[in-house]
């Protein structure tokens, strides 16, 4: 730190980056807590099937199991890429 600090480009704040990444992954892992063990496998297999048609990123698939009015609800959402994959 010194007198000419203000001339340097401001470095990205790594603590806020850490916080943001943790916020997301912790929420995701909490949602999966107590969920059946087959969910990760299901997600993997879905990804393989989808990739036959579109080039999706693993991040783009969300599998969520929730309770709604006494029923178990399996929610699946896929964010498709902007441009067609292949």
């Amino acid at each position: 730190m010194g007198i000419f600090d203000f001339l340097k480009p401001r470095a990205p704040n790594s603590a806020s980056l850490a916080k943001e990444r943790l916020r997301i992954i912790v929420a995701q892992e909490r949602a999966q807590r107590g969920a059946p063990d087959y969910l990760p496998t299901l997600r993997r297999e879905l990804l393989e099937v989808l990739r036959k048609y579109v080039n999706v990123d693993p991040e783009a698939i969300q599998v969520k199991l929730s309770q709604e009015g006494g029923h178990e609800l399996l929610e699946l959402s896929v964010a498709l890429p902007d441009k067609p994959g292949r």
Binding site: M1, A15, V26
Partner: protein, 270 residues
């Protein structure tokens, strides 16, 4: 009635043993009858931090296997009359600890009129860590302001809420506390370490205490003197504050702000 406190974390090397030793000493110094147990079977270390490594004759597994009495295995602290250590076994047998065995020892300790039983958990979420937390009434989750430690802590909080005796009987919840250690206020101020508020927000739990990163911790382990006994150490004083809060006292946080730099230091660096 004894209270069982587990010191746990998921991630290794975050300061569980350092914390167990200081919390046990802190409680004992306030007049409580305390025993601290090393659950890290195969990697005994609490004895070194407590400074009683040469007085270990029998260990936790010897008691479970009926090779000695509980009384024979308890090592009396040389500094405090009402503090005892139960060392981990150095066996490589992973199944040496059993649920029934651990329960038997804990019940034995309760009958000996201990007020606090502090359980130093091994890292991970395997059997040793599971058994260290299973019978707990209270948990101190040690966390460093760093991504993997915070994530693992959340995992442990989930296990405390589901894989413990209290959770299984539905009787009551295990009381959960976060203890933030190896905190560096200067780095937080510079924006390259998460702050107390960041960690509290992510984990949704308030901190019981904040222990700064300090060279005195290593000096204490070198000497076999828990850092809480070092009156000049900020880390030691922070542990003492945390113990006070554990006992229900309201104590303001200390050592959590960066040292204010003088005008010249700010101008020319330092």
């Amino acid at each position: 009635m004894a209270e069982i406190i587990v010191v746990t974390s998921g991630k290794g090397g975050v300061g569980k043993t350092t914390t167990s030793a200081s919390v046990a000493v802190g409680l004992a110094r306030r007049g409580k009858r305390v025993v601290v147990i090393d659950f890290d079977v195969g990697l005994r270390n609490l004895d070194l931090i407590m400074g009683c490594e040469r007085r270990v004759v029998y260990d936790f597994v010897n008691v479970i296997q009926g090779e000695c009495t509980l009384k024979q295995a308890l090592i009396k602290d040389k500094r405090l009359d009402n503090l005892f250590v139960l060392a981990a076994s150095q066996t490589r047998d992973k199944d040496a600890l059993t649920k029934e065995g651990v329960e038997g020892v804990l019940n034995g300790l309760k009958e000996m009129d201990f007020e606090y039983i502090v359980c130093d958990s091994p890292a991970g979420i395997e059997k040793g860590a599971f058994l260290a937390m299973y019978f707990a009434d209270r948990a101190v989750v040690v966390v460093n302001p760093e991504v993997s430690s915070v994530r693992d802590s959340d995992r442990i909080l989930g296990l405390l809420a589901s894989k413990t005796r209290h959770a299984e009987t539905g009787e009551r919840a295990v009381a959960q506390h976060l203890l933030l250690t190896r905190y560096n206020p200067e780095r937080v101020q510079r924006g390259d370490m998460m702050s107390i508020a960041d960690v509290q927000e992510i984990l949704g739990l308030d901190v019981l205490g904040v222990v700064p990163e300090s060279d005195t911790v290593l000096a204490g382990s070198n000497a076999g003197t828990p850092v809480i006994l070092d009156a000049a150490s900020h880390a030691g004083q922070a542990y003492d504050d945390a113990v006070a809060r554990l006992l229900g006292e309201t104590v303001p946080m200390r050592f959590t702000d960066a040292q204010k730099k003088g005008f010249l230091t700010r101008l020319f660096g330092g």
